[in-house]
């Protein structure tokens, strides 16, 4: 496994897109922090970036990478390697390089300008989102043989998690505003990794506003030790489940 990860990494690190991605993130981060004296505002901008841009880049890049290395996969599948190992190596390679890009592009500036709990949370959730959306990308690309369809599916998934899901939740909130919705809301936010990450950030950035509600359920839940552990477990599940399904499908896939 290590061997293959090594080669995937070598391939990816030479990839200009990953390099460009890192540089773009770096430029944005330093730009954001230098433009504003207020570091919190910088974290806020970077949060929006990591909630929208990071999943998008992770999912699209990973999908394209998997399709582009289909022949490489074909070559290696004929070798004495467990398919599972091969697939996990691809995942590890992608995750590692996207995470490194994120850490360098956003992690380092954040640690320099805003080395607070909020900053750490931003880095944490950003890393999780990189991993989760890579896993989802693998799932999407193993499902469809056609590259265009696969990329389409990935974009759709991204779109669903960043916009459609939230719109549906808002719809539900207003449709059922007569009912106590705090607890269902917690469940609903658990079912979307972007929302979950955003809420973890919200608890750092907007705790004052969140505390302004009679139903302090959110804070009691997410603010508690058990709640935050559960949140991170949930994020981990969000990474593992699509990955596990993709492994199962890849093991049966015809190449």
């Amino acid at each position: 496994m290590k061997t293959i990860v090594k080669y995937v990494m070598l391939d990816l690190l030479k990839n200009k897109i990953i390099l460009a991605y890192t540089v773009v993130l770096l430029i944005i981060s330093f730009g954001v922090f230098n433009m504003d004296e207020n570091a919190t505002k910088g974290v806020l901008s970077l949060m929006n970036l990591s909630l929208i841009f990071i999943p998008l880049v992770s999912i699209i890049f990973s999908t394209i990478y998997v399709y582009n290395s289909s022949e490489f996969l074909e070559l290696l599948v004929a070798q004495p390697i467990k398919r599972k190992m091969l697939w996990l190596s691809i995942f590890t390679g992608l995750t590692l390089s996207l995470s490194v890009a994120f850490l360098v592009g956003i992690g380092i500036p954040v640690l320099l300008y805003e080395p607070s709990l909020t900053g750490l949370m931003l880095i944490c959730t950003g890393l999780f989102l990189s991993v989760i959306f890579t896993a989802i990308a693998l799932f999407a690309s193993v499902r469809t043989r056609d590259k265009a369809k696969g990329i389409g599916l990935s974009v759709l998934i991204w779109f669903f998690f960043t916009l459609i899901y939230d719109s549906l939740v808002l719809l539900v909130l207003f449709q059922f505003s007569e009912y106590p919705l705090e607890k269902p809301m917690i469940v609903m936010s658990m079912l979307n990794p972007v929302d979950l990450s955003r809420i973890l950030m919200l608890l750092k950035l907007d705790i004052s506003a969140l505390m302004g509600y009679t139903g302090a359920v959110f804070h009691e839940f997410f603010g508690s030790f058990a709640g935050s552990i559960l949140s991170f477990v949930m994020l981990t599940i969000w990474a593992i489940v699509p990955l596990w399904f993709s492994v199962r499908m890849f093991e049966r896939k015809d190449l």
Partner: protein, 234 residues
Amino acid sequence: MIIASNVTKSFGKLKALDNVSVTCNKGQTIALIGPNGSGKTTLIKTILGMVVPDSGFITFDQHNILHDWKYRERIGYMPQIGRYPENMTIAHVIGMMKDIRKDAVSLDDDLIHAFGLKAMENKKMRTLSGGTVQKVSASLAFLFSPDVLILDEPTAGLDPVAAEILKTKISKEKERGRLILITSHILSELDDLVSEIIYMQDGKLQFHKSMEQLQEDTGHVRLAQAIAHIMKSQ
């Protein structure tokens, strides 16, 4: 050595393999012949475990290959179209394969030398011509002195000189008692190597005969003519 029993595989409506049973033994050089889309490549891929059959099973040395991967250590595979990570050089690719098959007992880099790949080993894969990529594929298939060689259209895209080098290599391996499976539709240049013929059409195995048997049945000495005879008679 390799036994396929009642292997069936469909891609959607298309039946790529329809109840195919073949037995390939050590020391044989088998030509897998059939028109385009007859299921040759699919059969090869099922043997390699790249395609999982819908029904039926394949054994390699009496072991079912399903969920197994270790047996592939003993196979060298040359794909029809080899594509490699674009940013890797030839040396990297070869190095990687050596890395992956660390357990290989003996390395055979005859073809690497014969094709002169050493001279351009620092070229990136994406800059290579189709023929050169085929040379790399061929070199890799033979690199680990495997017991079984599976060559999918090995001479397609190769220039005559390279094709000749490959042919020589194949015959050399044949003499060593390897099992060699070759798919091709132009076989003329490999005629004299082949000991067995498997003919497929529309996913079905039409026949599996020894070369002598085929020559006897059709009355043609040359393989191409023999095949043409069969195709006409159908």
